[in-house]
Symmetry: C2
Subunit: 138 residues, 2 copies
């Protein structure tokens, strides 16, 4: 059985052509995807609204997570199995290549703890490293 199908069923989502297609994009992608990446993809011919709603649904169900960026786009990437609905554990490092512009999830690299000033109570931590990725160094 296809992986995208498995994932959708596991999360109790009705399986539709659109969801499978978009989920496959993530499964195939090396790095993170923006809404525009999906919309521009020739194999996806859905309404913009459907893409928005699908990404929202996937996020709500812990299938994908959002990645913070400094340009005004939201990036999405597949969650690993540790994520639960409504409570993401995407506490791994995200690497953004300044050359090829790809964003890569480094699941092996966990975010180190930081000591915060008194009175500040951390719930979730994200870390973004900009640099040159493995493919772009020469």
């Amino acid at each position: 059985m296809e992986q995208s199908l498995i994932i959708l069923k596991k999360n109790g989502l009705s399986v539709t052509g659109g969801r499978k297609k978009i989920l496959d994009l993530f499964l195939d992608a090396q790095g993170a995807l923006a809404h525009s990446d999906i919309e521009k993809n020739t194999s996806v011919s859905f309404d913009r609204v459907t893409v928005y709603r699908t990404l929202q649904t996937f996020t709500d169900n812990g299938i994908i997570h959002q990645i913070p960026t400094t340009d005004n786009t939201i990036l999405y990437a597949l969650c690993k199995d540790k994520c639960e609905a409504g409570h993401h554990h995407d506490e791994h490092v995200h690497f953004i290549c300044v050359d090829c512009d790809k964003t890569i999830c480094m699941d092996e690299v966990t975010v180190p703890d930081v000591k915060l000033p008194k009175g500040f109570n951390p719930i979730q931590t994200a870390m973004i490293v900009k640099g040159i990725c493995n493919d772009c160094r020469n």
Copy 2:
């Protein structure tokens, strides 16, 4: 002499009413500001475009820096004196309060180093902690 004036002069920027006003907002602000915060501020009555261009100018000159977020807004905050034009050193932790929604720069908390996989060359690191801030805990 006013601080905003000093900063503008130091960076070789022509000093205008708009730039002073916006810079003062940052100097007064506790946390980071979004474009909309500035535009909505009653004491600012400039064209949206001017605000965009001013923020861009300040960013280019290392006066303010951008903060990554997962909602699709760009946040800006004052750089400390270590920042140079074109090369930001905003390697401090940003704290986003999930209650009051303020974003605070924790200049005292430096971002710890992480070991990246072979072939990945880091240039800049950012870290975002979500949680409850000092004002909102009870």
